[in-house]
Symmetry: C2
DNA sequence: GAGTGGTCTAGACCACGAG
DNA sequence: TCGTGGTCTAGACCACTCA
């Protein structure tokens, strides 16, 4: 049995996907839409909530509901540093980095396999493409580093990778754990997504050739426009049965 | 400014996480909770919605709200067939398989790199552990196969893998694309999750040593209890800059 | 039929953004 | 100040489950 909010959501979704309402257009106000569809405002808002959690609509308090489709997509490529966008529009990519020092605690202790309260360097990176935030990364490197060694402030993508690579030994094994979850309120605010839109969370642990963990990263990407790509080459004959 | 539904959600969440309300317990009815917290029913339901989308609570129409924590976790291991559960409680794993034949269309054409309307074999697999569904997989193999060659019905995990491996050449390269999205209504029903809980969707394409695609799989796992694990070994010296 | 959640209404008042 | 969305109320009626 189709509920009214589903009918309304389907109607609006079709208008957005077929381009009848274009990207960055403002929808009519919720009151107008409610009277147009002859429903109460909570019902209309429920319909919009579905579109929000699909990433088609962004609500901005005091301004209105804005169409956000099509989205610039982000592809995280597993097994390496770069964050790629499908458009390869690298010129518009910017990273803001903030570096701090802290002591290992909680989850970081087990991730990095270091003693509790040992010194760490934390890099908080916000990746932008033009106006829209793409991804949030928190990178942890064991050991205290002098402030002069740390990158900070806005950078381009390539120079950031080079800076980080210089901070730690080369990686021999990378393990990445991917999950889907609701964003924390902070993540939702920084990425400018609805709290109801899931994020793709990637926990990345890099070890050197001796197996020592030399880097851990917590990456968060908006679920409506991100995916992660992994390519593996199983040895013929053991084809996956090697667990 | 903390809204009432946040306060209520935080209170209930704390009670669940600290074990004051135990797994499979039924919460008081929404009317009782609403009067206890002195809010209206829609407000209370908004609070429960947050817990639902975190997978802590399952609503069952006509019965009540049930605590679902801690969850049995599922780990998908990239680069191979098996779906592993963290508990390694393999005895309880069951797979229901339904095999059909169909003609390539839409997304499948580009995934499998086959001509439109060429024959395919589809395996729809539902993975259970005890009562709770774990994952939904749709596996596509090019070519029409005789019904006798196809697995069907309930199976154990190992024999299913063996059957599928016999249906196609060995895999030389596996590419997996992971994304987070809301479930389709069918997926939500089959996995018994709320439509507001994101799923981890994995698109897996396997090619043989000539580069020909011999298998594609669409995997869907509930976001509240699943993650995917990938391990890669970058060559020293090219450390990820090989994009 | 009793009890549960599912949907919806028609308002009210508050908070934010822009002029 | 005005229009926008954000939150909330106090009901109503429907659909599902189970005894």
């Amino acid at each position: 049995m189709p509920s009214r909010r589903h009918v309304i959501a389907d109607d609006l979704r079709a208008q957005i996907l077929t381009g009848r309402i274009k990207t960055d257009d403002r929808l009519p106000s919720e009151a107008q839409l409610a009277s147009h569809y002859r429903v109460s405002t909570p019902t209309l808002r429920n319909a919009l909530a579905a579109l929000q959690s699909e990433g088609l609509v962004e609500k901005i308090h005091g301004k209105g509901n804005f169409v956000r489709y099509p989205r610039q997509r982000v592809t995280y490529v597993g097994g390496g540093w770069p964050l790629q966008t499908k458009s390869s529009n690298e010129s518009a990519l910017r990273i803001s980095v903030h570096a701090t020092s802290l002591l290992a605690h909680g989850q970081l202790v087990s991730l990095l396999k270091v003693p509790a309260n040992s010194p760490l360097t934390e890099l908080v990176c916000l990746n932008h493409e033009g106006e829209s935030p793409h991804s949030l990364a928190r990178v942890y490197i064991p050991g205290g580093l002098a402030p002069t060694e740390l990158p900070d402030g806005p950078l381009c993508c390539v120079s950031f990778e080079a800076k980080v690579a210089a901070l730690r030994p080369p990686l021999a094994e990378i393990q990445e754990r991917v999950s889907a979850r609701p964003p924390t309120p902070e993540e939702a605010a920084v990425l400018r997504i609805s709290p109801t839109l899931a994020v793709l969370a990637i926990t990345r642990v890099g070890a050197d050739h001796t197996g020592r963990v030399v880097e851990a990263a917590l990456l968060v990407l908006p679920g409506d426009r991100a995916d992660a790509l992994f390519t593996t080459h199983p040895m013929t004959g053991e084809r996956g049965e090697d667990r």
